[in-house]
Symmetry: none
Subunit: 211 residues, 4 copies
DNA sequence: CATGAATGAGCCTTCATTCAT
DNA sequence: TATGAATGAAGGCTCATTCAT
């Protein structure tokens, strides 16, 4: 468990909160981060008032969703590191399983204001830092294992992951899944290429990613 | 030359129109497709009324911008095919040079309504079809040349291109450029991998991309 | 009781709704159906938002007002039929008391769009049909009584009523009242004329009034 | 001839002006006095600029139309007085022939601002006064002839005329014509009624009509 | 002088947020 | 505490009027 509101809530309040979060994820993914708050409330089966009692404003809601997603990814990164036999395998699992992060990334891409909200949240920064650190370790280790090409840096990998998180155009969800998976494999082949084509510049670090 | 308003405009009207388009591209890229029309007008140095005289509503403006971008990409795709020595080279150039398409893709990704507007515009569909046809040819030819791996389809390549169009996180535009270029090279290595890892499913066709 | 929103409203919401309706009637009569919504809201002592919560757009408000008015007229037509000793008396009372309809007629006369809104509302059509049916009965009965001249049809009477609903030019409301009443009496004399001058064409039916 | 712009205009300017007036009458009658100026210009086959050169603003255009109409009515009133054998016949002709006035009346009814514009135009006041004077004479004379009932005043007649000018509801223009004509005959019978029912109050004078 | 482009004020409508019930 | 009503600021769009071509 990584990110959650600390204070105990009464059972029904808790349930409301969860319903709101679930509705928000759904709706943000579907309609973007500018959906009317009332729409979120409706899907959660509560009144707007209740929503606002739980989350003082739209930003707070977005932050909460992002926290949950980043937390899940971090948990997964750690689990992968611990459970997979090789760093390369863990890296692959991480890239494949970052599914949850998709929503947050989409939020960020979708609206500058959502992005700002996330960037300025210390909790999220911390989660992000944790993820990046884990990625950093995995990259080094995978290179030491001799599988991952030496000329890429953790920043390169992070960037590729972030690309993979984007929604791809497709005629159905199943096709989208297929396309994403195939793209991942191509990219993994590229990351394994040895000797690959010379990469321009220098390995990209986490710092280069900014924010 | 591929897409433009046919009717002659008075010199000043023409100039205004161009300024509006330029401002729109800028602003859409910067703030998303929901920016106040007034902001676009201001940057173009005209009144809202002028903007609305030229483009009856936001959708029309978005469509116009998308048309220009898709048109530029199609032109480039044809030029690449004609000018590059090999199909593979042309493909690489196309992937690298689709810069202009970025904006449109971003527009599309950014808002469902913008996407709908583009999808329903016959002119844009036609441009898209042209681009896809060119891509299709290049993929086949590059495979015939023995450089591009045989197990990818044009849809796979199109999907990878569309990923590359997304903005990558970076601490500066220069870094973003670097990251994007390095990611491209990694992906190209992946596309050249022979024998690469087995790709799941079947080659993705243009049709699979939907719309 | 003839036309009203069924759903229960909170006491304050109910009050607001009523105030809005009252303000709308006043303002429509005074300034026409194109008055700024804000003006209506102000007179009702509420914010525009409240107005729009209750009536999704101007048309809805116009329809609501029209429904109330037509409903009142229908109620009155039935009451007159039931309470007056003769059909002629009931007819006279109806012509005199259609006061409430005035506003709706004015709305309709004032703007094509308002008219369209009313014409397309099934509830209003039904009320109108009811009024017309009542009028039809009264005309026949009054002719059977031998008071109303035989060569007029219900459509003729309806048309005369509709003329009487218009605002007459006058230097004060009291004078307007006087003028309208005197005009009514003159018209009633004309309707009683026996033998009157030959009327051109044929008796006008309700159907001839169209819509 | 009674009302017209005095200054000589160049032939083409004259033609433009006439086209604009014709278009305005048409459009005002059809769409009301709030039609976009551009619509009027289009129907007149000129640019807005030309329209505004001829009529400084909407009000001026409305006034011009009203002047023409009132002028025509006054001409007709005088002609009727001169040509018809009896005052009663002249009165009937006037009531029937006021067709042209319809538009102006409709304008006035349609919008408070249009009404104000007309009321404040000295030329229009003068025309109106002329018409009223003629009506006054005819009423007196017709009463002297013993045809028109004695208890009505010229104001009563004017009011009845003004009612007849309104558009009646009908399913076609032909029916509207029929209905209007029949209503006129009924009213004329009412005006001839002798002894009619007692009219309330006192005869209405021209002064009572206000403005 | 005619034209139609440009301007900007004004009204419509939506929705984030607050607050009475 | 949950609800949903009320508010008002903000953005879309239209059109009267002005002005450059």
């Amino acid at each position: 468990m990584t990110a959650e509101a600390g204070t105990r809530l009464r059972a029904d309040a808790r349930r409301n909160r969860d319903q709101i979060m679930a509705a928000a994820k759904e709706v943000f993914a579907e309609l973007g981060p500018d959906v009317p708050m009332e729409e979120i409330a409706r899907r959660a089966g509560v009144g707007v008032g209740t929503l606002y009692r739980r989350f003082p404003d739209r930003e707070a809601l977005i932050r909460a969703v992002a926290q949950e997603n980043f937390g899940a990814v971090l948990d997964d990164a750690r689990a992968a590191t611990a459970e997979e036999p090789t760093a390369w395998d863990a890296l692959v699992r991480l890239m494949r399983r970052s599914r949850d992060l998709r929503l947050s990334v989409r939020l960020a891409v979708l609206s500058p204001s959502a992005w700002a909200a996330m960037r300025d949240d210390p909790q999220i920064r911390q989660l992000r830092d944790g993820i990046m650190a884990a990625l950093d370790d995995l990259v080094r280790a995978a290179q030491a294992e001799g599988v991952l090409r030496d000329d890429v840096g953790p920043g390169d990998v992070a960037a590729l992951v972030s690309l993979l998180l984007r929604r791809v155009p497709a005629d159905s969800d199943a096709t989208a899944e297929l396309i994403a998976e195939r793209a991942l494999v191509v990219i993994l082949d590229g990351l394994r290429a040895d000797p690959g084509s010379p990469l321009p510049g220098r390995p990209v670090t986490i710092r280069d990613l900014g924010d």
